[in-house]
């Protein structure tokens, strides 16, 4: 029944080649590296096949991960956009200086010229009472009111555009005080309060987003960890047999680490798609908002670098979750 003579010779031959045959590893170092690399490739491919083999549960897990990744990422995108908007606003913060009624157009213009040279002031322009009246007349409904008045009630105004870099709230306030100290300036108005509020809210939102990011990152690790644990449970027998024939823990762990990596990366990929979809859905709404404000508000997406970072982060978190689950459960699975 057995082909004794032929195979005897074969085994005998290899035994002479490998000396005593004590060491099973008589292959060279480079071939070891080669087979290690090809094993990684094989395991990476096999773990994808395993994910595809159980499509429903894989998709469920990936969707949970995608949502967990989308939430903080989308929040961060939203915050970035709001911060950018308020940043644009602070680029041209205006200060309006209302002059005394008695101030002449000539001294008003002179004053504006002086102020243009002030530190922290980008430009200064004088609006005479007549110009102010004319601009009011262009507004519907104001014509009759303005014309019915016995004299022009409007004062001359100097409009200061504050330079963007120097604009801290304190500096702006200092400029206001400097202007108020002048004899011709009756009152000065600067619209900083809302800006401060927005900055505070953005700061708070950023902190909330950071906390949320950490919590959901832990969530991703736990979800992947649990999925990998279940996968290890279903492959108990295989793990034990593999260990029986001399597999190291690292060898047994490898397919699960790749699985975690794919889970995390696919979750992040879906998250990227979801964020892009949200951005697309909001475009028309933002366009009409942009019209109202007469500005050019444009939504910023994640961008290439951030998208790549998100993908890598997802993959890393998945790998970490798998590593935690695998190193804990595989070590415990010893042949008995």
């Amino acid at each position: 029944m057995f082909k004794t003579t032929k195979t005897n010779r074969r085994i005998g031959e290899s035994r002479t080649r490998s000396g005593q045959g004590i060491s099973p590893s008589h292959h060279t170092f480079t071939s070891r590296i080669h087979s290690w690399r090809s094993h990684h490739r094989l395991v990476a491919a096999q773990s994808i096949q395993r994910l595809i083999a159980t499509p429903v549960s894989s998709v469920m897990t990936i969707l949970v991960l995608a949502i967990a990744i989308t939430l903080p990422a989308a929040l961060n995108v939203a915050i970035t956009n709001v911060a950018q908007l308020t940043g644009q606003a602070s680029d041209n913060v205006q200060m309006s200086l209302y002059l005394e009624k008695a101030t002449s157009d000539t001294s008003g213009r002179k004053l504006a010229k002086q102020m243009a040279n002030w530190d922290g002031v980008n430009s200064a322009s004088y609006v005479s009472p007549q110009q102010a009246k004319d601009s009011f007349r262009t507004l519907e409904g104001f014509v009759e009111i303005i014309d019915s008045l016995p004299e022009n009630p409007l004062p001359g105004v100097i409009v200061l555009i504050l330079s963007d870099q120097s604009l801290t709230v304190n500096q702006a306030e200092a400029l206001r005080q400097q202007a108020l100290a002048l004899r011709d300036v009756a009152s000065a108005k600067i619209d900083l309060e809302w800006l401060q509020k927005v900055h505070a809210i953005v700061g708070l939102a950023q902190q909330i987003a950071a906390v949320l990011s950490i919590l959901l990152a832990i969530g991703v690790v736990l979800v992947v960890g649990n999925t990998i644990k279940l996968s290890i449970d279903t492959r108990r027998e295989e793990i034990i047999v593999t260990k029986l024939v001399g597999a190291t823990n690292a060898f047994v762990r490898r397919p699960f680490l790749y699985m975690g990596l794919w889970f995390g990366a696919s979750g992040a990929l879906i998250a990227l798609i979801l964020i892009s979809a949200c951005k697309y859905a909001l475009t028309s709404a933002i366009d009409s908002l942009s019209l109202v404000y007469g500005g050019n508000i444009e939504l910023t997406g994640l961008g290439f670098t951030n998208s790549l970072t998100l993908l890598l982060m997802g993959a890393m978190l998945g790998w970490l979750g798998a590593w935690l689950a695998a190193s804990q459960h595989i070590r415990a699975l010893e042949p008995r």
């Binding site: 590893s25 292959h27 070891r32 090809s38 027998e237 597999a247 190291t248 042949p335």
Partner: protein, 232 residues
């Protein structure tokens, strides 16, 4: 070389599976390990492949004291041993070929070598034509032979077998034993645990007899089979 020096194995339950066992098996020797079920045969084999560790005494493999072997080195020790398990321990989710290839993949062999060696081992047990089949579609004897092919595929210096003929008829058992003998003839140290005394009697090899965890016989088969039968 396998050497036991005063080895005792007590399980956590307090049950003493082996008591003060001492023997030495030279490299290239073939021996049987026999005794009734529960006598400690499986425990003794488990101590050699480090599925269990001795409570007292020392187990030496090739001048390596297993008590001092770190967990990290256990896989390397196992690669030096082909083990044929009573319940085959085959994986039913993959082909015969993939089952036999497992020890080679684990040890990091080049894919090119793997095919050559797996086919060599399957040829040796005369199952080359069934390499693509799955183990569940094979007969018990064929499954056992797949297990043997897997045990010898990386040409280990040691071959251990735990009741390899347990569920087989006498003719098949004799063929399996003949196979072990052939491996021994090319220099492999073979230790076969079995309670098939009739089979042992025909083989003319050394036998280690266990009774209730103690070594009660260590010598040529015929006399031992005789004494064992006398005592029972």
């Amino acid at each position: 070389m396998i050497r036991f020096e005063g080895v005792t194995k007590r399980y956590d339950s307090g049950q003493e599976a082996l008591s003060d066992i001492s023997f030495e098996l030279d490299s290239g020797e073939m021996a049987f390990l026999t005794g009734h079920s529960g006598a400690g045969k499986s425990t003794l084999l488990k101590l050699i492949m480090l599925m269990e560790r001795a409570t007292q005494g020392e187990v030496w493999i090739d001048n390596q004291n297993l008590a001092t072997l770190s967990k990290r080195h256990v896989p390397l020790l196992r690669r030096k041993m082909g083990v044929v398990h009573q319940n085959h321990q085959l994986l039913f989710d993959r082909s015969v070929y993939d089952n036999v290839a497992l020890p080679l993949i684990v040890a990091g062999y080049h894919p090119r070598d793997i095919g050559r060696r797996v086919r060599g081992a399957l040829d040796k047990v005369n199952l080359l034509h069934k390499e693509k089949m799955h183990p569940q579609s094979l007969s018990g004897g064929e499954q056992q032979r797949v297990g043997i092919a897997r045990a010898v595929v990386n040409k280990p210096p040691f071959l251990l077998a735990d009741e390899p003929t347990g569920n087989l008829d006498p003719a098949l058992s004799a063929e399996i034993m003949q196979l072990f003998k052939e491996f021994n003839q090319v220099g492999v140290t073979v230790l076969v645990a079995t309670h098939d005394l009739a089979l042992i009697a025909r083989m003319h090899h050394r036998s280690l007899i266990l009774r209730e965890g103690s070594l009660v016989g260590n010598g040529a088969t015929k006399t031992i089979a005789q004494t064992d039968m006398d005592e029972t």
